[in-house]
């Protein structure tokens, strides 16, 4: 199916998601333009992870439509694959392939999905390892790296696929405090280069400096959506205010 109305890269129209009886997402409407940076925040269980996992079909939405760069997510495997090729994802727990060296982690999908020859895949892998500033770790196994380094590898692995969009699912939540900045720096650099990004995060400093829009979710709904200045200084909803006061004061 074709894109009905807009030039948005991501369109979610009236999306609902149920886990059995439990409604995880209620009537989500979201448009993300090319190059936009969105930060999603909200209490745990508010559906923010579920929302971005629906975008690359790690979760299947129950109702509504999701259209990525003109391709609608349907049950067709080939549509899902087409979308996944354009959407990179970075997970809270890194999820590197533990049995492969770092450079192999970056090469695998290039070779299998993009059918890129080994030598070229290796070159691309090393290029992005340079960009996240850990080329010297190329031949180590994930377990030998710190959490911050592993997460930077995970970002590089997503970049190797030359995605249009990168989704970040709480990328710094599993990190020791001293490693959070090295990951946020890489993400900020990416943002500056114009990558379209959706980040679920509680790093409000990052949201303030990088996001074009901040979205607050609660109980499966988008409660508030605004530019960071407005979002942080004069939130409209009481729920947003309560949430912000909790995470900004401690």
């Amino acid at each position: 199916m074709t894109n009905p109305t807009s030039d948005a890269l991501i369109q979610m129209i009236n999306v609902d998601k149920f886990f059995g009886e439990f409604q995880a997402l209620t009537n989500i409407n979201l448009e993300v333009k090319r190059g936009e940076k969105i930060v999603i925040c909200g209490p745990s269980g508010s559906g923010k992870s579920t929302l971005i996992r629906c975008i690359n079909r790690l979760e299947e939405h129950s109702a509504g439509r999701i259209i990525i760069d003109g391709k609608e997510l349907t049950d067709q495997v080939k549509d899902i694959d087409a979308v996944r090729r354009e959407v990179g994802m970075v997970f809270q727990s890194f999820n590197l392939f533990p049995h492969m060296t770092i450079v192999k982690n970056l090469m695998l999908a290039q070779q299998l999905v993009r059918k890129i020859p080994k030598a070229e895949a290796h070159k691309t892998a090393m290029h992005f390892l340079e960009r996240v500033k850990i080329p010297e770790q190329a031949n180590k196994y994930p377990v030998q790296l710190s959490g911050g380094q592993q997460q930077r590898v995970a970002i590089a692995r997503a970049l190797c696929m030359k995605p249009e969009i990168i989704l970040f699912d709480e990328p710094t939540s599993a990190l020791d405090p001293e490693m959070i900045n090295e990951v946020l720096e890489v993400m900020t650099d990416l943002a500056k280069e114009g990558m379209t990004m959706i980040c679920v995060t509680h790093e409000m400093g990052f949201a303030r400096s990088v996001a074009d829009r901040v979205i607050f979710m609660d109980a499966g709904e988008i409660v508030e959506e605004a530019e960071p200045e407005i979002f942080f200084n004069s939130p409209k909803s009481a729920r947003t205010k309560a949430f912000l006061s909790q995470i900004l004061t401690h």
């Binding site: 079909r57 996944r84 990179g88 997970f91 590197l96 392939f97 299998l112 196994y141 997503a158 696929m161």
Partner: protein, 229 residues
């Protein structure tokens, strides 16, 4: 009672003449059993009931009955059916060796498929999600992510089963095969010295177990190189 040491030194070389049969039974059943186990595993995790059920029935039957009984049923029971005597498998099933391999294969296949399933279930879901997010197909994920990781997870339990299989080959002696145990029984029948002969036999099996354990230990160490580099 007396303990005749010379009988031990005499009977060990005789029993070792049967080690070839023991090895043949062990390796043939192990390889065929592993192939069967992978097929049963794929059937079980296929998500299709008409594949999963037969696999589960097979596993239930072969884990639920003694292997000695399985050997007897195959050796004494199958030739009763005319269609089996007429089939292409008859040359194999006519021989006690073929029956023993078949029984051991069906039995170890059931156990090993459960061991492999444990390994597959142990693969971190996040790793597979990362594979999906990068666009890998279900098949690619199974080959490049699940299989290598599950193999490492399943290996310790598999080495246990391999040792059980090695020892279970001794049951083939009950259907006239002259493996090491079969030869030992013949010697006992001639010498009336069960104590010396069976202790010698036990020692040989123990040494084999030790060798198998050490070999698997090495493979385990190799496969764990990325866990404890």
């Amino acid at each position: 009672m007396s303990f005749d040491l010379s009988l031990i030194t005499e009977s060990i070389p005789k029993m070792l003449a049967g080690i070839g049969i023991t090895f043949q039974l062990m390796f043939l059943s192990a390889v065929l059993g592993l192939i069967l186990a992978v097929i049963l595993l794929l059937m079980r995790i296929s998500g299709k009931w008409y594949l999963s059920w037969p696999a589960q029935v097979h596993i239930y039957i072969f884990r639920g009955t003694p292997i000695l009984v399985q050997i007897f049923i195959i050796y004494y029971g199958l030739p009763q059916f005319e269609f089996i005597r007429d089939s292409v498998f008859w040359p194999i099933l006519r021989e006690p060796f073929g029956c023993a391999v078949l029984a051991l294969t069906l039995n170890t296949g059931a156990y090993v498929s459960e061991i492999l399933r444990g390994g597959v279930l142990g693969v971190d879901r996040g790793v597979l999600e990362a594979g999906s997010a990068l666009g890998l197909s279900a098949r690619q994920k199974f080959i490049y992510l699940t299989t290598p990781i599950a193999t490492r997870l399943a290996l310790p339990a598999y080495s246990n089963d391999f040792i059980s299989l090695m020892k279970a080959t001794s049951l083939a002696s009950t259907i006239t095969l002259l493996d090491m145990t079969g030869i030992a029984r013949t010697i006992v029948a001639q010498t009336f010295a069960p104590y010396e002969v069976f202790i010698s036999l036990a020692i040989i099996y123990m040494i084999l177990t030790w060798i198998i354990q050490k070999s698997f230990g090495r493979i385990e160490k190799y496969l764990s190189r990325y866990v404890n580099p």
